[in-house]
């Protein structure tokens, strides 16, 4: 994507690097359109997700609804010619985010990765990454957080206040520079901001989200989260590993007896490959990102 001049690039989306002033379009109308497009760029890099007003974890249905809502606002039929540039961006973003493979590539290219751990239904990690991956990540133990807003005050691009729970959480990993993050971590009166291993982050964030709990009649209904999220995460990971190992063993056992060794091996590797595919996809992006 490096070589091509800025004029043809969609201003916000592609030009992460040097921007060259827009030279084309002599008509006054399009200059106006270009100017108004520049403002969001200055506010800070907007990506496809911000453009469509969705989060990295939104599902296609949410993206579709949001896209249609925005189209109703910006489509040239409604807004006039000024909506042209913006609608092109919306279309571009929508096409990418609605196709799973394109979306993955895009996620990798901007460094925002939906960090998941295999099972799609558990893909609930909510923070995204700014810049390349680092071995450690920030995590707020929301159970301990008292909602003092100190961290949000010190590093506003990294932390946000979750309005529904009244707790702080990490929205973007390393959204601010290292010193402000350091200050934010230090400023927490309850020391509930932790540095955790990147691999554990998704599980922690998943478990940290309150979820509805089974009630008995009218009693005990409501939302719950683990008392100690770190312990819960460890148990969870252990359980997952056990399950994986078990299913692997099962496959091997079944296959060995009636088949020749080569066949068994082939089948085993195939099933392993199938199982590992979703992991390998994640690895691929990580490799891609870290080598860049």
């Amino acid at each position: 994507m490096a070589s091509s001049f800025a004029v043809f690039r969609l201003p916000e989306v592609f030009n992460h690097r040097a921007r060259i002033d827009n030279l084309s379009r002599p008509t006054s109308k399009s200059i106006a359109a270009t100017c108004c497009m520049r403002n969001p760029d200055q506010k800070g890099g907007r990506n496809y997700y911000d453009l469509l007003g969705v989060t990295v974890n939104s599902n296609p249905q949410e993206i579709k609804e949001s896209y249609r809502r925005l189209q109703k606002k910006y489509h040239p039929d409604i807004m006039g010619q000024e909506g042209h540039e913006h609608t092109i961006l919306l279309n571009e973003a929508y096409t990418v985010l609605m196709k799973d493979d394109l979306r993955k590539d895009y996620d990798a290219s901007i460094g925002h990765v939906r960090v998941g751990f295999g099972g799609d239904e558990l893909n609930m990690g909510y923070s995204s990454w700014n810049g390349p991956f680092r071995p450690q990540a920030l995590f707020v133990d929301e159970k301990a957080c008292i909602g003092c807003r100190e961290c949000v005050h010190n590093a506003s691009k990294t932390f946000v206040m979750e309005e529904t729970t009244g707790c702080a959480r990490v929205k973007v990993q390393f959204g601010d520079d290292d010193t402000s993050i350091e200050v934010a971590v230090e400023s927490c009166p309850l020391d509930c901001i932790h540095w955790v291993e990147r691999e554990d982050l998704a599980v922690l964030e998943y478990l940290n989200t309150p979820r509805p709990k089974q009630g008995y009649g009218v009693f005990n209904q409501g939302w719950e989260r683990p008392q100690n999220v770190f312990m819960a995460a460890k148990t969870f990971q252990k359980y997952q590993k056990q399950q994986q190992a078990e299913s692997l063993r099962k496959n091997v056992k079944h296959d060995v007896e009636p088949e020749t060794e080569a066949q068994a091996q082939a089948r085993e590797s195939a099933s392993l490959k199938l199982k590992m595919e979703r992991f390998s996809v994640v690895w691929e992006w990580m490799k891609k990102v870290s080598f860049k």
Partner: protein, 608 residues
Amino acid sequence: MKVKLKLKGIPLESGVELERKAEQLPWSSEIFLMSEEVGYTVASDSETTATKEETEIEIAIGIDIGTCQCSLAVWNGSEVELIRNTRNQKLMKSYVTFRDQSPSPVGGVTNQLSHEYEMLSGSSIFNMKRLIGRLDTDPIVHQASNTLPFLIQTLGIGAKPFLAALVNNMWRSTTPEEVVAIYLVELKALAEARLKRPVRDVVLTVPAAFSRFQLTRIARSCAMAGLHVLRFMPEPAAVALLYAQQQLHKDSIADSGSEKIGLIFNMGAGYCDVAIIATAGGVSQMKALAGSCIGGEDLLQNMMHHLVPDMDTRFASRGLEEIKAMGILRVATQEAIHKLSFQPSVQIDIDLGNGTRVCRVIDVQEFEEINKGVFEKCASLVTQCLHESKVAKPEYIDDVILVGGCTNIPKLKSIVMGICKRNESYSGINPLEAAVRGAALEGALASGVNDPFGSLDLLTIQINAHSIGIRADGNSFVPIIDRNTTLPARREMLFTTAHDNQTEALIVVYEQGDEQQLLLGYFKVVGIPPAAKGVPEINVCMDIDASNMLRVMAGVVMPGSGTKNPVVPLMEVRMPTADDGHGLCADALYRSLGSTLDLVTLHNKLNA
């Protein structure tokens, strides 16, 4: 160059009849007054209308120019209203009759025919929608020249066909653009009389199969008639908008905003379009669009050839006798096809003169056998559209919307319903008025009208019906904007030179037509710094806006020069630039230039 065009008023009927009509239609008296002022101008005259509408929004009117019938509709502030002519018709026959007394041809808006044969006397020109923007190498033009009762001469050299109407035993030449313009002048006068304001902006519905070149021809006709085309709308897109509005009303009652998938099948006299749409909350998103130049006219032609197998040679000379015979044959066949929609067989008994008499009984099976090809083509359009829309199963389609006159034919209905595995089609839409109503809605939307009740809280997200690309990699077509791309769209692609030290490159822009590519235009990129082949990067960018205007931009970058600025000024070209005879141009280009100015796609640039 102004040509005054007087409009014929209401034909004289009995006095009582006229009085009754005048009561019903308060504007019928004004059409006389208005008609004196209507000019038929070749250049677009904007000076008269530009100043008046500063205080009020001018709501664009919707016009559906059909091969057979036209209609006119406008948003009246609360709903879409179809405009009736002085004979209280909502659907007006599309034809223009040339007369010898004065240069005042009259069209189907104002003219009353005593009998349909009169229309087929050689002096009336019709079916222009199938001829406009087509060259004399086009098979559609050849078919038309054999079966239409006026003169169409083809030379087969890729130029405009010669078209003439018989006026007082003399062939008077005209062009499809002129005929459409004359008709549009009448429609404009009718709308102005009804709305009591000047009309300038229009939304025109066009078939999906229309090429960009055909669109420029229609736009030219509009300019001749003093109209400005605000939007060209593929007919299915207009229907989709109307469907979105109807679903919006339903939603508000049932309060369910769930997405509905609809299949629109539109077949009129000239063209057939199929589209898949997804509608929710007043927004219709088009998923796939396909169209072809097949319609009732093909059914008619096949049937005529079946009845009179030697028709092409018999009517080759176009004397008065032949034209009369052709007219008789056409009317009889048309009636027979209409009847076959309701009854199992039909008797045809006509005298073609010269002792030739056609007397036969045709039943439905025979009719379906004759037109097997047409029906197969329709089926393939529907399946193609389903496939491209990625709707996994036909069962996922919620509504099958049938539009256009031909959807009355039971066979066609059963084909479409069979593919979609449905028993009932969507019933909330009038098949003959859907397109024009949708166009009127779009007219109101694009003019910026707001409806306090939310009836205009609508949008159709349109897609591109044909892929557009350039000639590169030898003599092949490289698409840049693919078909079914959401509009507005912008795509770019990198190319490079094919020869060492090549300093110029020719960008030849094509549109993928039904069978072959159609040339839209060409321009040269000059001043490429001499370098080994494959080094200079030529960036070609295409941009289509919501009104379907295509711009092609090209620029040159030298990699390794340290700057990403283009080395020569960028070119921006509005397409199409080609005029009539563009088939000749493409050949000439290829002959005279060979491969000296060729381009090659630059593939691995993105991974570098």
